[in-house]
Point group: C2
Chain length 153, copies 2
């Protein structure tokens, strides 16, 4: 008990720096995104929709690894803000299609400089960022497959 060879030290965890980095990133984005009227998860939704719209709630959730319990109220707030519309798919009434409004599309221009604004404050080289991104993307793939293994459909 209390030996130093156990694996419970905070500095030995992989999960903790990910957790801290995620929180710190969202804190760093907050004032920048506030000018656009977005929260950080809402910004991620906009990134997905700017690539392709309309999309169903489920498709958004699959891309972002979030479920309807998170997305539904978030999307309703975005609808209230005039950024997106929500309407049932006529072809499959179970689906709700999320589309961009004119305002939502226009917001892309204002968001254009957000990534570089933040990256510029980070004192990390582009190479470091690219390598880090690839590593964590790989981890996400591993975690997502582990999730699918544990709770099989």
């Amino acid at each position: 008990m209390g030996e130093d060879d156990d694996f419970l030290r905070l500095d030995l965890q992989v999960c903790f720096p990910l957790y801290a980095a995620s929180n710190l990133f969202s804190r760093l984005y907050r004032p920048v995104l506030a000018k656009l009227g977005l929260t950080y998860p809402q910004y991620l939704v906009m990134l997905v929709l700017w690539e392709q719209a309309p999309q169903s709630v489920g498709a958004l959730g699959e891309r972002l690894h979030l479920d309807s319990g998170t997305l539904t109220p978030l999307l309703k707030r975005m609808e209230g803000a005039g950024l997106v519309t929500r309407q049932r798919d006529a072809a499959d009434e179970r689906r709700v299609l999320i589309a961009l409004t004119e305002q939502g599309m226009a917001l892309r221009q204002q968001a254009r400089d957000v990534p570089q604004t933040l990256a510029s404050g980070l004192s990390l080289s582009p190479e470091e960022l690219i390598e880090l991104r690839a590593s964590v993307q790989h981890l996400v793939a591993v975690l997502a497959s582990a999730e699918a293994t544990v709770s099989p459909s």
Copy 2:
């Protein structure tokens, strides 16, 4: 507008895989930690306290990059669960010292295998995990210093 050379594509973001990995990790930990009666952030608090206790709320927050608005209710729930005690520091009445109860200390034995249980399900080599951990720890340091720069004390 819509050119492919802008930086708004989700796959080009560093922040998004961190966000997804953090969520996926906490989802993966949830069923394991539930057996110990802990949530994932509560588990992190226990890791810190198992290293050293008692600690003030502020010291916990500094270590975990969390503020009192997050920690106070979390610690009250942990107090209610019988894992920690909360009492004012007699030497400085502004501080609240968080200490472990017998039950809180005993829980360490039950938690002993948690890290390896999770790591074993990940299909990542120990070398990959160590390198990833170092990269993200470095990022946390960079983000924390950026935070300090933006909002100077």
